[in-house]
Structures are given as structure tokens and as C-alpha cells.
Amino acid sequence: MAFDLFDPITWPTRRDEEWKYSDLARHLRITPRELEVSTDIAAPALTLEGFHVHNVFGADYSGLEAAVAASNGKLWLRHWARGRLDCVAGFQNKGRIDLKAGEHLTLFETYEGKGNYAVHSELELTLAEGARLERVVVMDEPETATSVRQSTIDTAPNAQYVQTVVSTGAAFQRFESHVAHAGHGAEVRMDGAYLLKNKTHFDYTTRLDHQHINGVTTQTIKGLVKDQAQVVFQGRILVQKGADGTDARMRHQALILNDGARVRAKPELEIYADDVQCAHGNTIGNLDENALFFCMSRGMDEATARGLLMQAFIVPVIEAIDDDHLRAAVLEFVEAKAGGFYGV
């Protein structure tokens, strides 16, 4: 674990370059109390059929291996945490999933909860040769939550790792993925979408380490921020010496809907091999006034026109999800969340 939730001395601060824009120590201040987890789980925010459901209370990943075995390739991990009124309830633990050669898994993770809690969880995922993991994450946490979700992903040649993270933010929320890219035909895609409002903070940090030849990576992250919300995107693509033939592309696009909302972006390239194609793009702005004018000149009122444009901006990320049922469910979730979002 990168730090210990129950030991304030280990908490990262903005003096740590990796946590420059997300100062955990400043946010937490008081050490959370390690408590028995409540298993009193609410009904899920979205409906999905055909998936084997496994509940993760707090950060307790026990029984994960059995759940993967029973899932028949489609597993829904429902993370649930519940806070208390008298203190910040803290949870911290690790889980692990190993995919054997050629194995396929669609992993759907939801992060939900209630009240004032702090969770630090870590998932270790390993993909053997030719394995395929599609990971779809929906972070639907309360605005009172503190949530740091870290994962390390180890790939092998010809493996495929696909990650799509959708977030609506929390008081302090960070989703961090470290991928060791094996190259030799392995492919990685790490996308993300966020809709942040009120005083939420979402930090999406990705680290990609190309260690061998011929690795492919693509990243598309898009999102909307409004009110006093803040989004942080930190993406690093590292190409090690000898990892020739690497093709890596990263794109981050943010729309700020009102003054007061903030975007912090740090897309990095760190290249030690010469025969590579690497690129990143980053844009920050508001809705295109010309497009808005076009829609309104065709008879749409402003709210509808704005809604349409925002939808058109964010939906392509979700549409890239491969699993049909999952894509439909996440689209429905985003549409429901976006309902109250567009009216600025």
C-alpha cells in the first residue's frame, strides 16, 4: 500500500509531486476510525443482468477468488461503505485477481456508500498471456466520502486490458491505475468520463509503463465540471529503454461550465526509446458558442441545446465499452446523472 489510512504520518501531501493537486493530508485532517463494516447495503443505482454479483464491504475483498471462479466471465463487484455520525469510518484493504492465459473477464465495479467514510482500497490485477480484461468502473459515491482507489495491473504479451472509469466525484476521490505494459502485441486502453458538481473533487491518475517492444496504448478522458468542483487528470506514459515500436496516444478534454469550477491537468510523456510514436493532447474550454448558436437557430431552446452538446461530448467514451449490456446500463446511469447537470 502506498500509504496507511490509519497513520497520518504516511498521508501524501501536495509536496509529493504525485499528489500535488490532491492533498490527502490537508483534506483528511483527522485520522479515520477502523470499524466493523456495515453490511446494510442499498439497492444498486443501476440495473444489470447476466452478471455474478459479489459485494465488497468497506475494502474487504475476501472471497474474491471464488467469486471470479463462479462468475462465468462476468463479475460485478459492488463496493459499499457506510459512514457514521460520530466519526469518520475508515476502511482499508487489498484484493487480487489473476487471469490465466487466454482467460476473459468482464469486471464491473461500482463504488457506492452513505455518510462520512474514508476508504483506501487496492486491487492487484494480473493478466497472463493472451488474457483479456474489460474493466468498467462506476464511482457513484456520496459528496461526503473520501475515497482513494488504487490498482496495479500487470500484463503479459498479447494480453488486452481495457478500463473505463465513470465518476460523479466525492469530497475527495482518487482513482489511480498503474499498468505494467508487456508489449509484444499487448494492448491497453484506459478511458474515463466525469460529471462533477457542487464541491466534489475527482482525481484520475494513470501510469503506463511500456517495458517491452510493440505495445499499444490509447487513452481518452472527457468530462464536465461545474459549481465549485475540481477535476485532476494526471496521465503518464513511460517508454523504457528498448521498448521500441510503442504506439501510445493520450487525450484529455474538459469542459468548465461556470467560473469557480477548476481543472488541473498534467499529461506526461517520459521516453527512453527512439523508435516510438507517442502523443498527447489536452484541451480545456467551454461549450462551443457556434455549435450552441447552430442548435438554437434550428429552434432548440438553450437548455436543450446545451444538454445535447454536453451529451454529444461525453457519450463517445461510454459507447466504447465493449460489453453490450454493460454499455447500455452505464449509458442509462450517465443519462440519469446528467439530467440535473445540464441546466446551468
Partner: protein, 488 residues
């Protein structure tokens, strides 16, 4: 193809670092080491007013409480600040009244470097060539400034900063340290305490400076650090184009160069600042070379001010340099055009900061990094928009080119937006020299070296175009020379 041919000829002519010679000149040194007495010594040598000494001592005190920054992607042996001479000047009995009284060896040095110190020598043999004024800084002092009288006719002040402190103290006092405060960073604090010379420029309201101004920095003495300070003020509606160049002898010790450049741009004024940095980069094994730790910043204080930084960085063992623009005035504009070439064991961590504070401020960043050999080249930049900066606009493009298997190229941009009315675009690419293009050029009869020179010059063209013409030609050659032996 003429340009390519010329480049190749130059490359072949110059087997090593062209400016690596040492001039044998009688020098005067301050005692080695750094303490408050040395600061007093420097101030006294320059006959500075009391407030200036206090200002220096204040900076020295702050420097002592600071730590050397370590966040850059640079790996070097730390400087022993007590093992340096902080003041080294050519010995002179009386102040020279004309060039004839200057040590002829010193004049020969500049002749060898191709710097015209005699006004009639300016671009000799070229009839009707544009004039440019030169301030020549040799180790710790400015030896001569040309065309001073002609510039004075239009009201332009161009002299060394020591002279400005004596002749125009109120002007210096008003602006010095207002862009880069004494405690800004470790190297700026050090510079504030011990800076010995540099250039001072003041362009009065409404004046377009009649010629290009330039400063030429030369490190000659060993075991010395050069700490120069440049202050340029463009008053309302003024315009100036300024160029600096730098070289040093080849030595197997690392020498420190910690400079501060402050630009103050007032309403409707414009400063174009170009740098061709060619400090000695060290030998093929990475031994020796200059540590170039520089703080450069421009403050667009009033509406419609404009600053344009253009830099060609080919020298130095270590480069730590981020020319920045504070866009405070509404509608002000900042530009940054950069070529950074690293070869051998050179390391460069360079970029810019565009801080948008005023409304409708615009900025553009074009950065081209080329790394070859065992070198490492990092672009590090910040673009930020304050909540009040409605209508702020930035476009950033940073491209890196890798030549060879053992070099590294990094891009570390920071983008921070606090307003919905800003529009920021950033794009970056990293590739190697295209095999197809190389093949095409060679198949048309160019040798491999010629083909590389051609492609590299194409890669950096956007930036070269921003340089004043004569320097663009020089820079083009310099880029080719710096990459010599990097292919094959």
C-alpha cells in the same frame, strides 16, 4: 540545397566546440567562497548606493535559508558554493575612454568570437546591413557597450547594469526585483546577492528602438561563476528586439552560470527577446561544461503588452531554465518559441510558464526538443488561468525528436484552469527521425549527415522563423553542429 551545403561545410570545418579557447588576460579576483563580506566586496567594487548593498545582503540572508531545488529531471554533481570565485574582472588601471585603451587581448577574444566591438566593424563587408548594438560581458564585468551615443539620441538607455546603478539609480530601484523578487527561488536569490554585471535597457514611451540590442556573455576565468542580471523596461508603446549570446572555454570542471532576466512591459509595448545559448556543453564523456541555472521572467503589467521569448539552446552541460510571462494587463500577449538540442551527456530541463491573470490574454508555446547521444531533454511548462482571466487563450505545441537508442525525451506540462471562459489547447508528440524521409533525401543524393541536417532544420523551422534574420542563419548552423556525429 545551398543552405544544406553550407551547413555541412560548417560542420566539417568545426570538429569541436568552436569557442572553447581560453584568453590569457590579467584578472582581478575576489577571494574564493561566499559570505556577507564577498557581497559587500562586490557592491563596493561597483560603487553601489547603500540601498543596493542592503538589497544584496537581504537576498544573501534569504538564500542561506533556502534549499537547492531537486524536482527537475536533472542529475548532476552539486555545486560547492564555497569553492568558487564570485568576482573576476579583467585588470584595468583607469576606466578606458575608448576602445584603444582596452586590453588588446580582450579585443582579440571578441574578434575571434565574431562579435563586433568596433562600431565601424559591424557586419563588415555587408553594405547597408542593419546595425546592432552590443554590450559585452566578460566574466563578472561589462567591458564595452557600443552605439550608446546613437541610441541616446532616441532616448534609449543601453548600458551595463553597474553603470545604470550609478547613472540612473531611481530607474533601477523602481524596477529591479519587481519581476523576479530576491527570494523567488534558490538561484535567483544567489544571483540577487552576488550579481556582478549584465545589461540594462530602458526604452522611453512611444519609441521604437532604432537597432537590435544584444549582449554577449563570455566566461573565461576558471573556477568562477557568472552571475549576470538583465533588466529591460519597455515603457508605454515602446518596442525593442534584444538578443543574447553566450560561450565559454572548454574545461574539465563544471562552471556555474546563474542569471536573472527581468522584463517589464507597459501599455502597448513589446519586447522581443531572443537567446542563442552556446555555453560549453562538456566533452564526449560528459566531463566539464556549464551549469546553466537561469530565471527569466516577463511581466506584462499593463493592457496590450506583448512579450516574445525565442530561445535556441544548444550548449550547457545542465540547463534549468523557464522563461515565463505574467500576463497581468488585459489583452496582453505572451509567446515562447524554443529549440533545445542535447547531445553527448547534456541534460536540459526547460520550458515556460504562461500565467494568465488579465482578461483576453493570449499565449502561444512552440517547443521543439531534439535529443541525441546519451542526453536527456525535458520540456516542463505551466499554463494557468486565474478566475478573473475571462477570454484567456493558449495554444501549446511541444514536439520531441529522438536520434539514437540511448537518449531520452520527456514532456511534463501542467495545465490549470480556474475559469469557464478560458480556452486551452495542448498537444505534444514524440517521434524519431523518419526512416522514410531519410531514405528519400539520401536517394536524391544527399549524404546521411546532409539528410539529417535537412530534416532537423525542417523540424525546427517554426521557431527559427521567429529569430532575427542574421541569427536564424547562425542558429541553423549551430543546431547542425550540435548534432554532429549523432547518427550512424
Amino acid at each position: 540545397m545551398a543552405a544544406v551545403k553550407e551547413t555541412i561545410d560548417t560542420v566539417q570545418k568545426l570538429e569541436t566546440y568552436e569557442h572553447g579557447f581560453v584568453s590569457d588576460i590579467e584578472m582581478e579576483f575576489a577571494p574564493k567562497g561566499l559570505n556577507a563580506d564577498i557581497v559587500r566586496f562586490i557592491s563596493e567594487k561597483k560603487n553601489e548606493p547603500e540601498w543596493m548593498l542592503q538589497w544584496r545582503l537581504d537576498a544573501f540572508e534569504r538564500w542561506q535559508s533556502m534549499d537547492e531545488p531537486d524536482w527537475a529531471k536533472l542529475n548532476y554533481k552539486r555545486v560547492d558554493y564555497q569553492d568558487l570565485y564570485y568576482y573576476a574582472a579583467p585588470k584595468q588601471k583607469v576606466a578606458p575612454k575608448s576602445l584603444d585603451e582596452i586590453d588588446p587581448e580582450l579585443l582579440r577574444t571578441y574578434e575571434k568570437l565574431g562579435i563586433p566591438l568596433k562600431e565601424q566593424m559591424v557586419l563588415a563587408g555587408v553594405e547597408g546591413a542593419p546595425k546592432y548594438a552590443v554590450d559585452a560581458v566578460f566574466d563578472s564585468v561589462s567591458v564595452v557597450t557600443t552605439f550608446k551615443d546613437e541610441l541616446k539620441k532616441s532616448g534609449v538607455i543601453f548600458c551595463s547594469i553597474s553603470e545604470a546603478l550609478r547613472e540612473y539609480p531611481e530607474l533601477v530601484r523602481k524596477y529591479l526585483g519587481t519581476v523576479v523578487p530576491q527570494s523567488d527561488n534558490y538561484f535567483a536569490a544567489l544571483n540577487s546577492a552576488v550579481f556582478s554585471d549584465g545589461s540594462f535597457v530602458y526604452i522611453p514611451p512611444g519609441v521604437r528602438c532604432p537597432m537590435e540590442l544584444s549582449t554577449y556573455f563570455r566566461i573565461n576565468a576558471s573556477e568562477t561563476g557568472q552571475f549576470e542580471r538583465t533588466l529591460i523596461i519597455a515603457d508605454k508603446g515602446a518596442y525593442v528586439s534584444y538578443l543574447e549570446g553566450c560561450t565559454a572555454p572548454m574545461r574539465d570542471e563544471n562552471q556555474l552560470h546563474a542569471a536573472v532576466v527581468e522584463l517589464v512591459v507597459l501599455e502597448d509595448a513589446e519586447i522581443k527577446y531572443s537567446t542563442v545559448q552556446n555555453w560549453y556543453p562538456g566533452d564526449a564523456e560528459g566531463k566539464g561544461g556549464i551549469y546553466n541555472f537561469v530565471t527569466k521572467r516577463a511581466d506584462c503589467r499593463e493592457p496590450r503588452a506583448k512579450v516574445s521569448w525565442t530561445q535556441v539552446e544548444t550548449g550547457s552541460a545542465i540547463t534549468w531554465k523557464y522563461p515565463s510571462c505574467i500576463l497581468r494587463g488585459d489583452d496582453s500577449v505572451g509567446e515562447f518559441y524554443s529549440i533545445a538540442v542535447t547531445n553527448g551527456h547534456q541534460q536540459a530541463d526547460t520550458g515556460t510558464k504562461m500565467i494568465h491573470l488579465g482578461k483576453n490574454t493570449r499565449s502561444r508555446i512552440i517547443s521543439k526538443g531534439i535529443s541525441a547521444g546519451k542526453s536527456s531533454n525535458t520540456y516542463r511548462g505551466l499554463v494557468s488561468a486565474h478566475a478573473r482571466a475571462a477570454g484567456a487563450r493558449n495554444f501549446t505545441q511541444c514536439d520531441s525528436l529522438l536520434i539514437g537508442k540511448t537518449c531520452a525525451a520527456h514532456t511534463v506540462p501542467y495545465v490549470e484552469a480556474d475559469t469557464a471562459k478560458a480556452q486551452f489547447e495542448h498537444e505534444a508528440t514524440t517521434t524519431r527521425l523518419s526512416e522514410d524521409q531519410l531514405f528519400y533525401a539520401m536517394q536524391r543524393g544527399l549524404s546521411q549527415e546532409e539528410a539529417v541536417a535537412l530534416l532537423v532544420n525542417g523540424f525546427v523551422r517554426d521557431v527559427l522563423q521567429e529569430l532575427p534574420m542574421e541569427f536564424a542563419v547562425e542558429a541553423q548552423k549551430l543546431v547542425a553542429i550540435s548534432l554532429e556525429g549523432s547518427v550512424g
